[in-house]
């Protein structure tokens, strides 16, 4: 290799490395250059696979784009005439082999790393006695069933540090469960049961939202996971969940379309509608839907209906408008 070429290659290498270092600094600051800070072992392993791929792809990116820019600059015509031909090289078998084998090796490394991390991502740790919770994706809310029969809407409470195994299902259309800091996503598909797990390593609230188009309010289908100390979790599923169920239902389900005060929006105003005080009529509409209103409560228990009816008649209903 002539020294001139060697020097060029060297400077190329230096340039690539320095770009990578800068990129690394940007990544550390996370302005959206890496997945959100993981707070569950599976999410952490996904992030490490992300970093590995980022390293290789950033390297390839820099090499390819640098070569492109260098060649474009170096071999620009500089007022040479169009009739002047470039070097009439038709190919080079060794080079072809190199740039076939190089990517193969890189991809093999990436794939091997993925397989190495895979068990820790796909499977919950063995012998962890997971907490089993059913997640029901629903137009346009999430409903959680706890082992003791408690239910909550949109807000999932879990103990910190405990493995949680989610059974993800849907009664209507396809949704997708995704809390970025607690791992990947999985679709909630009618007629199927999917599983995903996490283990929150720190107390806090982790936000996410439905990731599969499910209708007009797809955008509003948000979920949060509240990871809290064991005794708070106990208190929630034994008392708070049931006490606040009606409120959760109204605010998490009905308010999306009918407004927080029942003032109306996509659906008609409810605050002055006496049907809010008639449990049977309300139950029929909530369970079966009506025209543009989906059957939001088709999987609800009687206790849920009771909770809703009690809440709305007391807190949302403002009395029928007079003169009607």
């Amino acid at each position: 290799m002539p020294t001139r070429v060697r020097r060029k290659l060297l400077s190329l290498l230096v340039a690539s490395v320095s770009v990578l270092v800068t990129a690394g600094a940007a990544v550390a600051a996370n302005g959206g250059f890496t997945p959100e800070a993981p707070h569950s072992p599976n999410a952490a392993r996904i992030s490490s696979a992300y970093y590995l791929i980022l390293g290789f792809t950033a390297f390839i990116f820099v090499v390819v784009e640098t070569l492109l820019v260098v060649f474009v600059w170096r071999y620009r015509s500089r007022s040479r005439d169009r009739t002047v031909e470039g070097a009439q090289v038709h190919g080079h078998t060794r080079l072809e082999l190199i740039w076939t084998a190089g990517p193969v090796v890189i991809l093999a490394v990436i794939a091997s790393f993925v397989f190495y991390k895979l068990p820790g991502i796909a499977n919950a740790p063995a012998a962890s006695n997971p907490l089993r919770i059913t997640v029901e994706g629903h137009q346009f809310y999430w409903q959680f069933d706890y082992p003791n029969g408690a239910r909550s809407i949109n807000e999932l409470h879990v103990p910190v540090g405990r493995v949680v195994d989610l059974r993800v299902v849907s009664p209507d259309v396809i949704h997708s469960w995704w809390i970025p800091q607690l791992g990947g996503k999985v679709q909630a598909i009618p007629g199927r049961t999917n599983h995903i797990w996490f283990k929150a390593d720190r107390a806090g609230t982790y936000e996410g939202q439905c990731a599969e188009l499910c209708g007009p309010y797809h955008e509003a289908m948000r979920a949060s996971v509240v990871a809290e100390p064991e005794q708070d979790y106990r208190a929630f599923i034994t008392r708070t969940a049931a006490q606040t169920l009606g409120k959760q239902e109204f605010e998490g389900v009905c308010a999306t379309c009918h407004g927080m005060q029942g003032q109306g929006g996509y659906g008609p105003a409810l605050a002055t509608n006496p049907i809010l005080t008639q449990k049977a009529g309300l139950a029929a509409i909530v369970r079966n839907g009506r025209l543009r209103m989906p059957p939001v409560g088709d999987t609800w228990t009687q206790a849920q209906i009771d909770a809703l009816a009690a809440y709305v008649s007391k807190n949302v209903y403002k009395g029928a408008t007079s003169g009607g």
């Binding site: 009439q88 038709h90 990436i110 009618p190 797809h218």
Partner: protein, 549 residues
């Protein structure tokens, strides 16, 4: 043969009118131009939808569009761009160029060819009429996954979705007829001396495009037929509550949908393989490697469909298979990129607009290809799937890749098609604006996806980085739209004002046979076709001429 039939049946006078002659034409060049013009029209329409969507997403809690109309725009934009813009414009270039490049008089079946075009136009009209359907345009996304696309009161009632299905059927028929026509033409009508290894790489790519269409389209026809039966005849193929299977549709759709991606990108790559050598004044580096990697990509593209379905909860074994097959595809793609770069090495790079767009393709497609590796590694895909990272990824491929190549192709073959060169200064302005606008629109979307923004949401409530990146992206979409406008102005200046320089037969000193005939070519294309002695017959001719004088 054609001459004889013309003698027997002199042209009916009404068929020779200025408009009527286009309506009844079976000339591949006119059909090609009609395809291209119609696709550009739909590109402008689809672009307007895109800019409206970006306006809605520019700021949080925006209510410029209603949720339903956002979903309609999103579905119509995606469906239009894929089915009414990219696939048919490639059919248009194929139609115009394949017979010329192989030295033939026309396509093998000229009437079938006209039928393909008219079916395409009909399909486009049907799709766009869906705005007036009861219940409005389809809103279930360009995949139209059931149950959301089913005729249920809470899913997709009304007829928009039925128009969508009908339109897909028409477009499928159009593409299948076109694909058969291309294959027969390429196999049987090449000029003397044009062996497979002397065939222009664009023709290689159209051959592959056609084979892939034939292999993939029947599945999507079947899928949407079943969906139509579900919606209108009371079956429940995809309705789990009645014993159907919603995931089946996803498999059927993507068995078509992934090859479709390569249907779109391979001919765009073919164009780049034609443009780069001509403006580098060199032969393509590694002709055989490029040709065979085209076939390799096509073959493997039939084996990767479920990498779009990593989040449906498939067995890990299947996920692993689809990860590996997807990674395999990256190899021939890389081979192409390296060969194109090597093509510029030691060239005499003439910076006309077609070269700028071809280099733009290289720069941006590389980015889209590399972000694809994240998606192939399925655990990482579990994190980024269905987020804005995906929106960024496929726009880098579909827009940065394919559409840049298409603009390059338009600037390159325009003089052949219309006899005038597009304006170079406006062309360069077009390129740089588009390059800046495109990157500003789609680069921040990678970050949005990693910050947790799902695709297909009609609004969001986060401030902070979400707001910044979304606003940048929306500003970028405005610049992009401006760039496209510059192209329209360029066409108008060139032809409306007749400012365009008249083109000779071969204004770029190119390599392939279409430059042997006049610009634009006569109806019968060639008076004589030279014997083809290499993959660069025109250069051979120029050299022979130079030797004689």
């Amino acid at each position: 043969m054609a001459a004889r039939s013309e003698a027997a049946y002199p042209p009916v006078s009404w068929k020779t009118g200025r408009i009527a002659s286009w309506l009844v034409t079976v000339d591949h060049k006119r059909i090609g131009i009609m395809y291209i013009a119609t696709s550009i029209f739909f590109f402008l329409l689809g672009g307007i939808l895109a800019v409206l969507m970006r306006a809605q997403l520019a700021t949080p809690n925006e209510s410029f569009l209603t949720r339903n109309s956002y979903n309609e725009l999103m579905t119509m934009h995606g469906t239009t761009m894929i089915f009414l813009v990219v696939v048919p414009i490639l059919a248009g270039f194929g139609n115009y160029l394949v017979p010329l490049m192989i030295g033939a008089r026309d396509m093998a079946f000229p009437r079938l060819n006209a039928l393909s075009y008219w079916l395409y136009l009909l399909g486009g009209i049907v799709l766009w009429l869906s705005w007036f359907a009861s219940g409005g345009a389809p809103k279930a996304g360009w995949w139209s996954y059931p149950p959301l696309s089913e005729n249920l009161p809470y899913a997709s009632p009304g007829h928009g979705q039925d128009y969508w299905i009908l339109s897909i059927h028409l477009l499928t028929l159009s593409s299948i007829a076109g694909a058969i026509n291309f294959i027969v033409t390429i196999h049987n009508m090449r000029a003397r001396g044009m062996t497979w290894m002397r065939m222009p790489l664009f023709v290689w790519s159209i051959e592959t495009y056609s084979i892939l269409l034939l292999a993939a389209l029947p599945t999507v026809s079947a899928a949407v037929t079943l969906l139509l039966l579900d919606r209108q005849a009371g079956t429940h193929f995809f309705l789990p509550s009645q014993g159907g299977n919603a995931v089946l549709y996803q498999h059927m759709f993507w068995f078509f949908g992934h090859p479709e991606v390569y249907v779109m990108v391979l001919p765009a790559m073919g164009m780049v393989s034609e443009i780069l050598p001509v403006f580098a004044r060199k032969p393509i580096f590694g002709y055989k490697a490029v040709a065979f990697s085209t076939l390799g990509i096509a073959f493997f593209s039939m084996l990767v469909w479920a990498h779009h379905m990593f989040t449906v909860g498939m067995p890990i074994g299947l996920d692993s298979f689809f990860m590996l097959s997807s990674m395999v595809i990256a190899v021939p793609t890389g081979i192409k990129i390296f060969n194109w770069i090597a093509t510029t090495w030691r060239g005499n790079l003439i910076f006309d607009t077609p070269l700028l767009f071809a280099l733009g393709f290289l720069a941006l497609f590389t980015m889209g290809g590399l972000s694809g590796i994240f998606l192939a590694a399925f655990p990482v895909d579990w994190q980024v799937n269905d987020s804005y990272f995906i929106v960024a990824h496929f726009h880098y491929v579909a827009f940065g890749g394919i559409v840049f190549a298409l603009f390059g192709g338009l600037y390159y073959w325009w003089p052949k098609m219309f006899g005038r060169l597009l304006d170079e200064r406006l062309g360069k302005l077009h390129f740089w604006l588009l390059f800046a606008g495109f990157n500003l629109t789609f680069l921040p979307q990678h970050m949005l996806g990693l910050l947790g923004m799902p695709r297909r949401i009609s609004t969001y409530h986060h401030g902070g980085l979400w707001e910044v990146y979304n606003l940048l992206s929306s500003i970028g979409s405005g610049i992009t739209a401006l760039a496209v406008l510059v192209f329209v102005v360029n066409v108008w200046v060139t032809h409306g004002l007749r400012r365009g320089v008249r083109a000779s037969n071969d204004p770029w000193l190119a390599d392939t046979l279409e430059w042997y005939t006049t610009s634009p070519p006569p109806p019968h294309n060639f008076d004589t076709v030279p014997y083809v002695t290499s993959a660069r017959p025109l250069r051979d001719l120029r050299r022979r001429l130079a030797e004689q004088t």
